[in-house]
């Protein structure tokens, strides 16, 4: 018999209570996996979208809303003159309800701009000109809206014909409704306004060149901020708020987990008071008793963490299929996140066991003689 078996037997002494504690900590860790995975995935999918469009720098004013704040379209003219810029593309991005979809990305792009070039037609065609009342749908957006070529999509008060289904090479692109910028500006009443300028640096630019380009753009565009593509979402107030909410909720879930494990371990120590005294009486050192309790709580955390990762991943996979958010989620369920979540659970277990372990070590062995 190993010491590990002694620890396991302690946990199996009350299997229902141990099981319920595991469920409690699993739910907490599942919340960590799901919320952090979703918020990180959100940032990464935007970064992937930028990469797919071949954008090096994004000029936008990321406020507290999910979509950037609008600014004058002629800002683009100031940027385009700067050295080191190969191309620019003005964009108006909005996130709004479209027919049955409660949240969809509308990506209105400057007609002829480079941000149209990454779109690969799966079926149909691109709009013939900037004024044609037509849209192309990313393949996921088409699934969500249940639209096929020739159908119409109602945007604000305008009915637009679906002329193409595209593969944009990234979830954000595939989940978008893509439309020409002038048409959308007219429909949404944002004439002369844009909220993003995609900038492509001259070929061969290094990372440092791109960063220098951002500095140069920022010096001539006070109404927006230039950032390396992909970083702009992470720096937005909205994303930071979502991220903080995710971690805050996760922290609460972890605190609940700590209290759950601590409660279980304290109950264990109280119930096994005489048993612990017997172990002390037959020669166990107090340090071994402490180790036994800490191992028990650490194992609760560890197995709770594994359970939490499984529940979290399953939960996110189920969420991805929900019609309301289908196509908007690309959670980052990386191995790193899973390992970190299990480590958090393990630390939760150990921390929760410290006080019960200390209590157990204060017991006097003479209590073994009683009863």
């Amino acid at each position: 018999m190993t010491f590990f078996i002694v620890v396991i037997r302690g946990l199996l002494r009350r299997p229902v209570r141990t099981g319920l504690t595991l469920v409690g900590i699993s739910i907490g860790i599942a919340a960590v996996v799901a919320l952090v995975g979703i918020s990180r995935g959100f940032e990464q999918s935007w970064a992937a979208g930028m990469k797919a469009r071949g954008t090096d720098v994004v000029v936008s004013n990321m406020g507290s809303a999910l979509a950037p704040k609008p600014f004058a379209a002629n800002v683009r003219d100031r940027i385009a003159k700067l050295p080191g810029i190969a191309a620019t593309c003005s964009i108006f991005v909005d996130m709004t309800s479209v027919e049955d979809s409660s949240m969809m990305i509308i990506s209105a792009r400057e007609w002829g701009g480079f941000s149209w070039q990454n779109l690969k037609l799966i079926s149909g065609r691109m709009p013939t000109d900037a004024e044609e009342p037509a849209v192309v749908l990313g393949q996921t957006a088409a699934e969500v809206l249940k639209k096929k070529l020739g159908d119409t999509v109602q945007l604000e008060t305008k009915e637009l014909k679906v002329v193409g289904i595209i593969d944009g090479g990234a979830l954000v692109e595939n989940g978008s409704l893509i439309i020409s910028l002038p048409l959308f500006q007219e429909i949404s009443g944002n004439e002369g306004k844009i909220n993003i300028i995609d900038v492509r640096a001259t070929p061969g630019s290094s990372e440092d060149d791109v960063k220098r380009l951002c500095v140069a753009i920022n010096s001539v565009v006070p109404e927006a901020r230039a950032m390396v593509a992909g970083e702009h979402v992470g720096n937005s107030q909205a994303y930071r708020f979502i991220s903080a909410m995710s971690w805050g909720t996760s922290l609460l879930a972890v605190i609940v987990g700590v209290l759950g494990v601590m409660n279980t371990m304290l109950m264990t120590v109280f119930e096994r008071k005489q048993e612990i005294c017997i172990l002390l009486a037959i020669g166990w050192k107090r340090s071994r008793i402490i180790r036994m309790i800490l191992w028990e709580s650490a194992l609760l955390g560890f197995f709770g963490g594994i359970g939490g990762v499984l529940i979290g991943v399953a939960g996110v996979k189920i969420m991805e299929t929900l019609p309301a958010i289908h196509g908007l989620l690309e959670p980052d369920l990386s191995v790193g996140l899973m390992i970190n979540s299990v480590l958090i659970a393990l630390v939760v277990g150990v921390i929760s066991g410290i006080y019960p372990a200390w209590r157990s070590s204060r017991l006097t062995p003479s209590l073994a003689m009683q009863g």
Binding site: E275, K285, R288
Partner: protein, 232 residues
């Protein structure tokens, strides 16, 4: 350690003016106890309930400390031992009245529990526990949990456990108190046989005079004091 010698016999325990209060001084379990116990002796401590005999046994086993006075083991104060757990694990074997086997462990696992504090490998622990169970006649019950054993069998497992680390002293607190007469007789014979074969010092607490008469020496207590100390 330098143990005292009395007529060539090594003094294992020496108590001088031992006292113990309880309930914050409202009661006294021991009121000045003096004795010496020598290597290989079988000492029965007797007396009515509440006379202090179990308190004394707890002190011998370093499970409790005296209020005043000194209690030495082989010349060293038990209260000042740097590592009382090591003393309990290596020098002392304790047999409880209520057996006190751990219910989630089998007989052989219960016997192995004290061995975690000895420098033995897992296979050595298992082998030694099996031999000890064989020595108490329980080789066929080694994988049974305590709930599947009779009272006598449980006490035999507890005896095997008390011998786990080859202690030099066996302390028994009413070891037959929870057994029927047939099992009590068997267990007592077993303890005495182990004491003789292994030349261990045996201190047995009992209120049963027929058991005490089998000891080589009887210390009788009353109201926290020794009232008689007889060699039999």
């Amino acid at each position: 350690m330098s143990a005292a010698q009395d007529d060539g016999k090594t003094c294992v325990f020496e108590a001088v003016g031992l006292t113990k209060e309880y309930d914050e001084g409202r009661g006294q379990a021991l009121r000045g106890v003096d004795f010496r116990i020598h290597e290989g002796e079988f000492v029965a401590i007797t007396g009515p309930s509440g006379c202090g005999k179990t308190t004394l046994l707890q002190m011998l086993g370093a499970l409790d400390v005296p209020g005043a006075g000194t209690l030495n083991y082989r010349g060293e104060s038990i209260a000042d031992l740097p590592a009382p757990a090591v003393y309990r694990a290596r020098e002392i074997g304790i047999i409880f009245q209520a057996f006190h086997l751990l219910p989630t462990f089998t007989a052989i696992e219960n016997v192995q529990l004290p061995m975690f504090e000895a420098d033995l490998s897992m296979s050595q622990r298992k082998e030694r526990a099996a031999k000890l169970l064989e020595s108490v006649g329980l080789e066929g019950r080694r994988d049974h949990f305590p709930t599947k054993l009779s009272g006598g069998e449980r006490q035999r497992v507890a005896i095997a456990r008390s011998l786990a680390n080859s202690p030099s002293v066996l302390l028994a607190d009413e070891p037959t108190g929870n057994l029927d007469s047939e099992n009590a007789h068997f267990i007592l014979d077993l303890i005495i046989r182990i004491h003789r074969e292994q030349k261990m010092t045996l201190v047995l607490v009992t209120h049963d005079m027929t058991i005490a008469q089998r000891a080589s020496r009887t210390i009788q207590m009353k109201d926290g004091r020794i009232v008689s100390d007889q060699q039999l």
